[in-house]
């Protein structure tokens, strides 16, 4: 199980004490807001519409039940009894007081957690596949590499004042669930014919106001060279990245402006300048970190378990949930449980303290004490015996955590939007709720099949609308909220940026428009053809006609 080392313990405690002093000085007037803002942001504290908001880092989305219970405790004691799991595998609290924040950071430090590098122009917390270490299709667990990069980049003086924030994502599986192609750096593991593993290094992806797909700069980089090579990338960025314009400061703009080939040449030149012997990561260091992510001891079970099959026959509701919310585990007799935080008409990613405690209990009892937060804002129990799935489902049902919509139309990504966020230009959550209610019938959702609907309440794209199969962007038009629809986005290994379909809609029209799009798809699809592939084959025309021609 992932844990801190002694260095982390010390610096998190020091940082908490430092922040307590900074907050006291702010409250006494010794620090102005301009002086204090960068300090609070370095500790994940924002000022939002209703109060301060605290963003807590959950490295690789990995939590123990003890940590999840502490998150519930914080929600009850210092917030309003709930938290919001985000598209960065973090949790945000919406009703935080400045005067309580140091105490909250101390409570987090008790369970090896913090809010460092969840904000600011530094290398942010590294994200990974939420099924890491469990997925059947995985070559190797990507989290040790994430951890290596975290240990290298945390408070790194050279990279603490970058032109802009910097996000790294890592996947160890060919089916990319970590959206690596829309990160500043994406790493994807490959295995060659000889059985050796190497990392594909992609640079310059991103969302926000200028969405771009990353370009590959190395196809197969040995693991021991990763830190040195990424350091070369960071140096090129730090040197050439624009600092004159916030909106042109991300590495994607640099890669785009000088071109992928020139960028690559600059990185290779920088990399070649390095004295190789001193920059390789030692094998024993890689092993030390990998030991933090040692898999649990699995029982030897058969792939087919009669109890699980029988339970599905006995409980149709369980059968549906098992069909949609369970995923293939790499070990026979085990499964990955995906708990949907998207109940009908609910708020995507929100969980009450009570729900957090229940999920913690279930993880402790059935999933080797481990939970994951996924970037699509769900919670995962990664290592569950198939025979325990029924008991888990039965415990989830009364807590409204058993919605069988994982990966379907109701499993919507939405940022907090203008209900909470000071940057938002429109609300996201009510749009998500309206769509969720429109497709409340799970038979209808299953008939439509896998589709990703992503909603952002402003151009910063926290709701990943650019890479939604159906993306919705909320904007402000002369003081009124209105919504643009894009189609054809994807964040997987075949990543693409969605295209705007046509004129936008008022909030109350959006759910109906989505229904028309999906009805058109069902009518025109070939047998077994998922929405994204149907769109790629058909193009926007039939959907445009369905939405606009009749008007």
């Amino acid at each position: 199980m992932y844990r801190y080392d002694e260095f982390d313990h010390q610096f998190v405690r020091e940082r908490t004490a430092q922040f307590r002093d900074q907050a006291d000085r702010r409250l006494s007037g010794a620090l102005t807001e301009d002086e204090f803002r960068p300090l609070r942001l370095m500790n994940g504290l924002y000022l939002q519409l209703h109060a301060y908001m605290l963003r807590v880092a959950i490295p690789y989305g990995t939590l123990s039940s003890r940590q999840m219970r502490q998150l519930a405790y914080i929600a009850d004691k210092w917030d309003r009894g709930y938290g919001h799991f985000t598209t960065r595998q973090n949790i945000q609290y919406n009703w935080i007081k400045l005067e309580d924040t140091a105490d909250i950071l101390a409570a987090l430090a008790e369970v090896e957690m913090h809010a460092i590098q969840t904000s600011g122009n530094c290398i942010r917390n590294v994200t990974t596949d939420h099924w890491a270490g469990a997925a059947a299709d995985e070559i190797s667990d990507p989290r040790p590499v994430g951890e290596l990069l975290r240990q290298w980049s945390s408070l790194h003086p050279e990279f603490s004042y970058l032109p802009r924030k910097f996000k790294i994502a890592v996947t160890g599986a060919p089916n990319d669930r970590a959206a690596v192609k829309v990160h500043d750096i994406g790493l994807r593991l490959h295995k060659n014919d000889a059985g050796a593993i190497g990392w594909e290094v992609m640079v310059g992806g991103g969302q926000g106001r200028t969405p771009m797909i990353a370009v590959t700069v190395r196809d197969f980089l040995p693991e021991k060279e990763l830190v040195a090579y990424i350091e070369a990338i960071m140096r090129v960025y730090n040197l050439y990245g624009r600092r004159d314009n916030k909106y042109k400061a991300r590495i994607k703009i640099l890669v785009h402006e000088i071109g992928a080939e020139k960028f690559k040449a600059e990185v290779e030149a920088e990399y070649a300048r390095r004295p190789e012997q001193t920059t390789h990561v030692e094998e024993k260091e890689l092993q030390r970190i990998a030991a933090y992510f040692a898999p649990p001891v699995f029982e030897k079970l058969s792939r087919f378990t009669p109890a699980f099959e029988e339970a599905k026959l006995l409980h149709p509701g369980f059968a549906r949930w098992a069909r949609n919310n369970l995923a293939a585990h790499r070990v026979d007799g085990y499964t990955i449980v995906n708990i949907s935080l998207k109940p009908e008409g609910g708020i995507p990613g929100d969980a009450t303290a009570e729900q957090m405690r229940l999920m913690a209990d279930l993880a402790e009892r059935y999933s080797h004490d481990e939970l994951r937060v996924s970037h699509p804002q769900n919670i995962i129990l990664p290592h569950v015996r198939k025979d325990d799935a029924l008991a888990i489902w039965q415990a989830l049902v009364p807590a409204e955590l058993a919605t069988a919509n994982y990966g379907l139309a109701g499993d919507i990504i939405a940022c907090p939007g203008m209900d909470y966020c000071s940057l938002a230009t429109a609300r996201s959550i009510p749009i998500s709720q309206a769509i969720s209610r429109k497709f409340a019938d799970l038979d209808v959702q299953e008939k439509i099949g896998p589709v990703k609907i992503n909603i952002s309440g402003c151009i910063n794209a926290c709701g990943h609308h650019h890479v939604g199969h159906i993306g919705i962007l909320g904007l402000d038009k002369k003081g009124e909220e209105f919504y643009q629809i894009t189609l054809g986005g994807s964040s997987t290994e075949s990543a693409s940026i969605g295209s705007i379909l046509g004129p936008g809609f008022a909030g109350h029209e959006v759910a109906g428009a989505i229904e028309k799009i999906l009805t058109t798809y069902v009518k025109l699809r070939q047998p077994g053809e998922e929405f994204l592939y149907a769109y790629r084959r058909l193009g926007p025309q039939p959907f445009k006609e369905a939405l606009y021609a009749a008007a």
């Binding site: 000022l47 109060a51 301060y52 935080i96 007081k97 609300r427 009510p430």
Partner: protein, 112 residues
């Protein structure tokens, strides 16, 4: 028909807890928009700005700004949705924020 007056309200977040507050006629910061001064002319908005600037220095509030509002039947309402959400609370959680704490003013969101 009651008369509608349009003007501007000075708002900020209280420094110590982030609570949304509005500048009142007596120069205090209050959680209720109904207590706010509606500045109808440039001289009045300038006075609000000066007061807010002082109170930022005095570490009472942070991030002050003016927003457009109207007075209808003696009660003040923000014109833009963003500010209405700040005066009431999230539209998706009517059990939270000023609307749930009795400090919301006269114009609540309707139940969904």
């Amino acid at each position: 028909m009651s008369e509608i007056e349009k003007g501007q309200v000075m708002t900020a977040n209280r420094l110590r807890d982030g609570e949304v507050v509005f500048l009142t006629r007596s120069g205090e910061w209050n959680e209720r928009i109904d207590e706010a001064v509606l500045a109808l002319e440039p001289q009045a908005t300038a006075a609000l700005e000066a007061r807010a600037k002082d109170d930022v220095k005095a570490t009472l509030v942070t991030g002050p700004y003016l927003f457009d509002a109207e007075r209808v039947g003696g009660k003040i309402r923000a014109l833009h949705m963003r500010e209405r959400i700040r005066t009431l609370g999230p539209t998706v959680r009517l059990d939270l924020g000023k609307q749930a704490e009795g400090t919301a003013g006269a114009f609540a969101f309707k139940e969904a």
